[in-house]
């Protein structure tokens, strides 16, 4: 047997790979071999660790030392110091942004310390391309239990007791969904996994698929047993090539182990899974559209009822669950529904994975118990707003969600509480915005997304969202008129009430929520022709205030058009003839002297 003394859990998620983690791994492997350490120190490439902000990251086990921002250049030093001399390299430790304190161990980093890893139980711990590592962590134990010891009714009962609700956005109770499908008559039924994670700013499903694909397969096997289905599909975005590759490997290995296919674990139960790649259409995240897409048609939603539990894929009873929902299932079967329900709030049980991004220090994936406050999420775990800027709003739930201002940061995050303040839990995208974000421009951004992704089937969504976008563009370009806000509101309500599917029914939410909390910004754009956040180019004058200018010359050096005149000890001046309005000077000026 090899005597491996140290394991290096190197993150191989999309974020770390883009930061050259592959090259780091090759260099490190070479250096370990050169020093004769390759036998006792093994590199294991894991799925997404979650702490994407400081990638590439690596955890040294069993010591628990956490290294960040690794580069191929640092490899010789790292091997020499840590693995030969036993002195961990301090300059690769995590530094807490506020206190500037260096923290060597992963478990002491606030980003990880406040989290609770249920869905992400195996992230960064196992090699996702090796089924044995999943099995060693009690993997497929729940599937065996469900197939051998539990009746379908018992499985459904356990999921109902757990209070698990769909993590894809709508929050429908999973157990009840399964019960409907179980009771629907029909010999052929399907289990689908929705991995068409389309909400901008949400990447937890990608991460789960990359880090722990077998958890999703296991959840699907249990669901199949519960409703008596024999074929499953995973509908995954084509934009996630690494997730697709890991799933393919996982399915192949599960088949080899007799965990998929005919007569699973000798129980006589048959079930197999195929991957279906999407082709880039946001609306395919909607359940009926997703099923049309698997059938090879334009992915357009249809009215419900009949619900998919009655007539779904190929008109057969179908259960569609999101990736994160399915990854929860093995836990519920292993530990019981009551155990699962002990965490969370009255109406929302278990944990939720949030994708924290935008203007926040610790960008990454965060798993916390339901009911955790936004403030804890953004400030304790997220480390607050970078560059000492001020918090302005947080956007929850993607294009279907809304912006939440500072006064509501202490509400507990669960399905009901979030809805009360005008946002939705959605898939769990949390995008933090600092005071330099223009809320009218954000509403315009989301509406541009919604109108572009509207499938065009129903008129309120197809035409209405386009009209909303036109009005918002007009306001951002300084052509807003006094009646515009009333029109925005009226039109939004009509679209919400009259649209066919969730896309149109929730699409106007970003407009309504920004109007609710940031109406004064809209008014500044319309009546004063001014963008308070200085983001809407058409409303900027491109003038430097000589009183505020510190004569530092930063704008002069950065201007790509040579439009700024500046000499030492003189305030800078912009030549409007030459200015190309590219905003570089705004970014460079640290004194807010340009307007």
């Amino acid at each position: 047997m090899d005597k491996v003394r140290t394991q290096l859990m190197l993150c191989g998620g999309t974020g770390c790979r883009a930061n050259r983690s592959e090259m780091f791994r090759e260099t490190l492997q070479g250096e370990l071999e050169k020093r004769g350490l390759a036998e006792e120190i093994k590199i294991i490439e894991t799925g997404c660790n979650g702490f994407c902000a400081v990638g590439p990251v690596m955890l040294v086990q069993p010591e628990g030392i956490f290294y960040q921002k690794l580069t191929p250049e640092i490899v010789p030093h790292l091997v020499e110091e840590h693995f030969l001399k036993g002195r961990p390299v301090k300059k690769l430790f995590y530094v807490e942004p506020a206190s500037k304190e260096t923290i060597p161990k992963m478990e002491s980093i606030p980003f990880f310390a406040h989290q609770m890893f249920w869905v992400m139980r195996n992230k960064g711990v196992i090699d996702p391309e090796v089924i044995d590592e999943y099995i060693a962590r009690d993997g497929y134990f729940a599937a065996a239990k469900a197939l051998r010891e539990m009746t379908p009714e018992r499985i459904i009962e356990e999921v109902k007791i757990s209070g698990l609700r769909g993590r894809g956005g709508a929050g429908f109770p999973t157990g009840i969904k399964w019960e409907f499908a179980r009771k629907s008559p029909g010999a052929v039924k399907y289990v689908l996994c929705n991995a068409d994670e389309g909400d901008p700013g949400a990447f937890m499903d990608r991460s789960v698929l990359e880090a722990d694909p077998h958890a999703v397969l296991e959840g699907m096997i249990i669901a199949a047993r519960a409703i008596d289905a024999h074929q499953g599909y995973i509908y995954v975005r084509t934009e996630y090539p690494l997730a697709i590759r890991r799933l393919e490997i996982a399915i192949r290995q599960a088949r080899e182990y007799g965990l998929l296919g005919k007569d699973i674990l000798g129980t006589g139960f048959d079930f197999d899974i195929d991957i279906y790649q999407g082709a880039g259409a946001f609306v395919c995240g909607e359940e009926t559209a997703l099923m049309r897409s698997i059938e090879g048609k334009r992915g357009m939603p249809r009215p419900r009822p009949p619900f998919p539990a009655v007539k779904g894929l190929w008109e057969k009873p179908t259960v569609l669950n999101n990736v994160e929902t399915l990854a929860n299932i093995p836990l519920i079967i292993n530990h019981g529904g009551r155990w699962f329900a002990s965490v969370g709030t009255e109406g929302s049980k278990g944990t939720k994975v949030f994708a924290l991004s935008g203007d926040v220090n610790n960008i990454g994936l965060v798993e916390v118990p339901m009911g955790t406050s936004l403030r804890r999420l953004i400030f304790d775990i997220g480390g607050g707003i970078p560059r000492k800027k001020k918090f302005k709003a947080v956007q929850l739930g993607g294009p279907s969600g809304g912006c939440v201002p500072e006064q509501y940061l202490d509400i507990p995050v669960d399905y009901e509480e979030i809805a009360k303040v005008g946002a939705i839990m959605g898939s769990g995208g949390v995008i933090v915005m600092d005071h330099e974000t223009c809320m009218v421009d954000m509403a315009r951004f989301f509406m541009d997304f919604v109108q572009d992704e509207s499938c065009g089937k129903c008129t309120p969504c197809r035409e209405g969202t386009r009209r909303l976008l036109e009005i918002l563009e007009k306001i951002c370009e300084g052509r807003g008129e006094p009646g515009d806000l009333a029109t925005l509101e009226e039109l939004s309500h009509i679209i919400k009430e009259a649209s066919l599917c969730g896309l149109g029914q929730t699409g106007p939410n970003p407009v309504l929520s920004t109007l609710r909390y940031f109406r004064s910004e809209y008014e500044a754009h319309i009546f004063e022709k001014r963008c308070p956040a200085k983001r809407c180019v058409a409303l900027l004058r491109f003038e430097i205030d000589p009183e505020v200018c510190t004569q530092c010359g930063a704008c002069f050096k950065a201007c790509p058009a040579g439009a700024i005149a500046w000499k030492k000890k003189q305030p800078a001046r912009i030549d409007k003839e030459k200015c190309i309005r590219c905003m570089t000077c705004f970014e460079k000026c640290r004194f807010d002297a340009i307007s």
Partner: protein
């Protein structure tokens, strides 16, 4: 069923037609396979000329309108030729908040192309894509298979320079 002779097309070589025929043959009779077929055909040719769509339709025994309907619905498929290098700029919220708009403006001005378009010299195609799920790197740009994180407007032209 006899396969009609392939029409001549400047962008589709006889070898490409061979591969296309193989793709179609592999999926013939499999319900719902048209999206997979179009994906693989686009990988062969680079985009989907109308002659190719016709070949897929007759090969899978589907109405041309159905195949065209699918090809025009999904953003993965392109009915127009692409440039030698494909720039994908992420239009996810995190990238937007962190200034991808300014990055796009800079690319547009330098290479004379708008999102969805190709530069006159066919050097670059620019695509504004949906969230790439790499929000930790925002703003993100992908050129061919290379991902660039934290792309700033004043650096982007420099990053693109090596791609000819």
């Amino acid at each position: 069923m006899s396969v009609p002779p392939h029409p001549e097309h400047p962008d589709i070589t006889p070898e490409m037609w061979e591969k296309i025929d193989a793709v179609i043959a592999r999926h013939r009779g499999v319900a719902g396979s048209v999206i997979a077929v179009l994906r693989e055909c686009q990988q062969v040719v680079g985009y989907l000329p109308v002659e190719l769509i016709d070949a897929v339709a007759s090969g899978l025994n589907l109405p041309r309108s159905d195949v065209f309907g699918v090809a025009s619905f999904y953003s993965l498929f392109s009915l127009k030729p692409k440039g030698r290098n494909l720039i994908k700029v992420c239009m996810g919220t995190a990238c937007y908040v962190k200034g991808i708009k300014e990055v796009i403006t800079r690319i547009e001005a330098r290479f004379q192309l708008a999102p969805g378009g190709t530069s006159p010299d066919r050097r670059f195609s620019l695509e504004a894509v949906r969230c790439l799920g790499a929000c930790g790197l925002a703003p993100v740009m992908v050129v061919n298979n290379d991902t660039f994180g934290d792309v700033k407007a004043d650096r982007v032209i420099e990053v693109l320079e090596p791609y000819r």
